[in-house]
Symmetry: C2
DNA sequence: TCAAAAGTGTTATCATTACACCCATGG
DNA sequence: CCATGGGTGTAATGATAACACTTTTGA
């Protein structure tokens, strides 16, 4: 069957940049190996064509699961890439999505067609197909910007976590050596979005307090913040 | 002539949300009146179909000029809207762009096909076609967020401007009553991105100092900021 | 008693807020 | 000399950064 239109149309695809944090606090990204030309054998972001009756987000989630087995992810739209020459096969416009997940909770599946799927450290990436390096670069920047004003990342930790774990997470996502322990703690506790829920047991050192993220407190805070911001006016801070 | 594809393809359009500031410090948005169904007679964002050999941004600028006569605008991508039912004619995915311009420097043209083009105050909008109210809402939010961390808006003022004018601008864009004069000034001057260039003449009150935006100083500042941010780590501020 | 990691005290400095007040000009 | 905006002083309070120190646990 074929589909005919009066005017030519670009093809429309979606691509997913899925960041994962592994046990050793490395930031990784999920890639698949292409089987077909163009770029056969190269690694690429999971993605594919949008069906006519699904939303863009649904398309991204569907392709992600089909190609990697990864599901139940909160993705957000990143940017739409539409340079005329970005795909050698012809005009293809791609809407990119991104997410940050707990790597250990999202095992990759050997996809049905035996395509390879792997997590790569963002520091040691293979050459990528199409303009996927550009997409990934933008996703990394966005993730780092976002981590500063939204409590992204709490989903990556166990339900209960220590402040050291949380600090580790921030250091990893921001790609920074070592944040000042004292100041990190003061800051994050002052926000009042963490609830103390117990302490570690059976560790060979002083047991750390365990916290969980208090979502309601956060949402409350967020609402208050908004009014503040308007009163302050200008900021010029990221 | 017709174009045939093996699989169906959504149509791809671009839409432009152009904000303008008028002389009386009102925030307005540029709309056109549709001639044809669906939504004939309704007001809508300027926009249209993407050609096969132009980038998305180029398509947005082309449609903007064709439909409104407005040109030489710095647009930025906002979001891509792709809900399956957003256009009654069928599947249409639209990449939205936005910009903020000095309204008086961008006169609208009676478009060749005599379609009406007008600036509407964002507070008093007519019903809009498609999901354009949603697009506009998102654009407004983005503009307000952006104005806090980027010196957007300086382009809207004359080359030389007073601090009161600048404050007015911020109040308008943020939709806020009155920022504290003292604090606004302290803050913005402390940044060091304004250069004093003279003073007003022939005004019936103490003449104000005139400033211009020091682009180099800003870019310098921006680079320094970035390192700082990494060291501070977590922020949770917008 | 030691290693390892958790957790705290403190201080100098800077930023923010809120108010009230003074200044220069043309009419 | 007054109306009209432009422009400044200041003090209380809170946030930030930097560094060194104490505590608690299992081995």
């Amino acid at each position: 069957m074929a589909y005919t239109y009066e005017y030519p149309r670009p093809a429309l695809t979606v691509d997913c940049v899925i960041f994962g944090l592994d046990e050793s606090h490395q930031l990784k990204v999920l890639l698949i190996q292409r089987k077909n030309d163009p770029f056969a054998g190269r690694w690429a972001l999971p993605g594919g064509f949008v069906d006519m009756d699904e939303s863009l987000e649904a398309a991204a989630l569907r392709e992600l699961e089909e190609e990697t087995g990864v599901r139940d992810v909160f993705i957000e739209q990143l940017f739409t890439f539409g340079a005329p020459e970005r795909d050698p096969r012809g005009r293809v416009v791609s809407v990119a999505y991104y997410a940050l997940v707990n790597l250990s909770e999202h095992p990759v599946e050997a996809a049905s067609d035996a395509r390879r799927v792997e997590w790569f450290p963002v520091q040691e990436l293979p050459p990528l197909a199409f303009d996927h390096d550009k997409i990934l670069q933008m996703a990394t920047n966005r993730l780092r910007a976002k981590v500063r004003y939204q409590p992204i990342g709490f989903e990556l930790l166990p339900e209960q976590f220590t402040l050291s774990q949380l600090q580790q997470l921030y250091e990893t996502v921001l790609g920074v050596d070592e944040l000042n322990k004292r100041n990190f703690r003061t800051r994050i506790l002052k926000m009042g979005v963490l609830r103390e829920v117990g302490k570690q047991e059976n560790v060979a050192h002083r047991p750390a307090k365990l916290y969980s993220f208090d979502k309601e407190a956060y949402e409350q805070l967020f609402r208050e913040r908004y009014d503040d911001l308007l009163r302050r006016g200008v900021d010029f801070e990221i």
